[in-house]
């Protein structure tokens, strides 16, 4: 008798909400600091259309940016994994770039890319890129010796080696990078929106913050969390669909 798949997550969520509610009630936390769940629900119900509209902006930025970062990260990782020299020359630069606080880059992005969705998408790309690169590189260099011997013995070209063996083998690890990246993607979009709050849930957070409407800010944050969870599990399902063999050879 296995419990259905939704039972556990359901209890997880209900438990958290309950603890949260209890904490706000027991310690008399003011909504200014941490609103109770009903405050948030009512904040949402005051203007659902607005919130969903802004959420949609955030979602599109996130998805486009994530897609670009995934493709670019994969490509770059393949190049880096192909040559030790290139890796030694470029990887430190990527690490350095990645450590530049995004918050302080955001204003520059607006200067360069204007007020539209482009600086936000670019920020998502910036923030997602690195995990994909690191995970893919690790995956590409984890090909078992026997399989790489096999393709070498067939005189496979560099390209064939990657397409037929290294990349498929790396996929489970690439998905680790994608999963980390997708949850950072949402954060990236929001950071950019906070810095130039004309659209998106980030704007909602900033605007409600300045007017001390903490419940509204939390409603936006809850929506963000939902988006993040949905995107994360979309990636996870893609993994399950694409890689049945990976689960079969592990125990």
């Amino acid at each position: 008798m296995r419990t259905p798949r939704v039972v556990a997550p359901f209890f997880g969520v209900v438990g958290t909400v309950a603890v949260w509610w209890l904490a706000t009630a027991l310690f008399h936390i003011r909504p200014l600091f941490l609103p109770a769940p009903p405050d948030i629900v009512s904040a949402f119900r005051r203007q659902p259309a607005y919130l969903l509209h802004e959420a949609w902006a955030t979602v599109t930025e996130t998805i486009i940016g994530f897609g670009i970062a995934a493709a670019a990260g994969l490509g770059v990782a393949v190049v880096l994994a192909a040559s030790r020299t290139v890796e030694r020359a470029l990887l430190p630069l990527f690490v350095a770039l990645n450590s530049v606080p995004k918050v302080s880059v955001a204003p520059l992005l607006v200067v360069w890319l204007g007020f539209g969705p482009r600086p936000k998408i670019f920020m998502v790309v910036l923030i997602c890129f690195f995990p994909v690169v690191v995970a893919t590189m690790a995956g590409l260099s984890s090909t078992p010796a026997e399989l790489s011997d096999l393709v070498r013995s067939l005189s496979a070209s560099w390209w064939q080696t990657y397409v037929k063996v290294r990349l498929p083998w790396a996929l489970p690890q690439i998905f680790v990078g994608l999963k980390v990246a997708v949850s950072l993607a949402v954060v990236g979009a929001v950071v950019a929106e906070i810095s130039n709050p004309n659209r998106g849930l980030g704007a909602v957070i900033v605007l409600s913050g300045t007017s001390f409407d903490t419940p509204l800010a939390f409603a936006a944050i809850v929506l963000l969390a939902l988006i993040s969870v949905v995107l994360f599990y979309l990636v996870a399902s893609a993994e399950r669909l694409l890689l049945p063999w990976a689960r079969a050879i592990t125990g």
């Binding site: 026997e146 011997d149 393709v151 067939l154 064939q160 037929k164 050879i249």
Partner: protein, 249 residues
Amino acid sequence: MISLVEVSHAFRGRAGAVEALAEVDLEIGEGEFVAVIGRSGCGKSTLLRLIAGLITPSSGRVRVDGVMVTRPRPDVAMLFQQPALLPWRSVRDNVLLPAEILRLPRPAYAERAQELIETVGLAGFEKRLPHELSGGMQQRAALCRALLHRPRVLLMDEPFSALDALTREELAGELQRIHMDLRPTTVFVTHSIQEAVLLADRVVVLSPRPGQVRKIVEIAIPRPRSFGHNAHLEEVTEHVAELHELLLT
């Protein structure tokens, strides 16, 4: 066809170097079938890897077709000691891998793959993934893959080790037929002295680590040789006994 001149190979490791092969001299003619026997760990796999161009010798020269081997050649096929199947590909797609890589026409080779799969007794398992096969079935799939593109040189590292006695005999017969048909130059590592005698033109006996050529025994029995009782039983028995003796000392 294949020539090794004073080939030595040592593996360097953290706990010191292992001398795997020492001063091996060997000439193998075009279309010849050479079996290699020797104690476990004496360097048989290393020898095949050197010929395949997967590793380069610490000293000495390896030539195929008169050309120094520095990397793998597409006309040399290697069958590894481990099946080395790609876990995400079905049996059929694993077998077809060389055709894809060498860009051979798919339909023709798909047919050939199917024939090979049936020959080794894997019919019905074409669409299964490697982890759904037993050890011996995986080995047979790898055998099909090595035979697919009719290579000029066939390097086989214990291809039948995971097979039962009967399947082994059947496939050895099949291998002999293929060899008589297409005449690939074949280097065949085996643990079965019997098999070596029944398949090979010459049997190379390697001494224990470091592997050196102890003796090369000519097997002059005419082909096709059959695996059951046959007219040359005496010669076979004699050779087997001789090789057994050689391994012992």
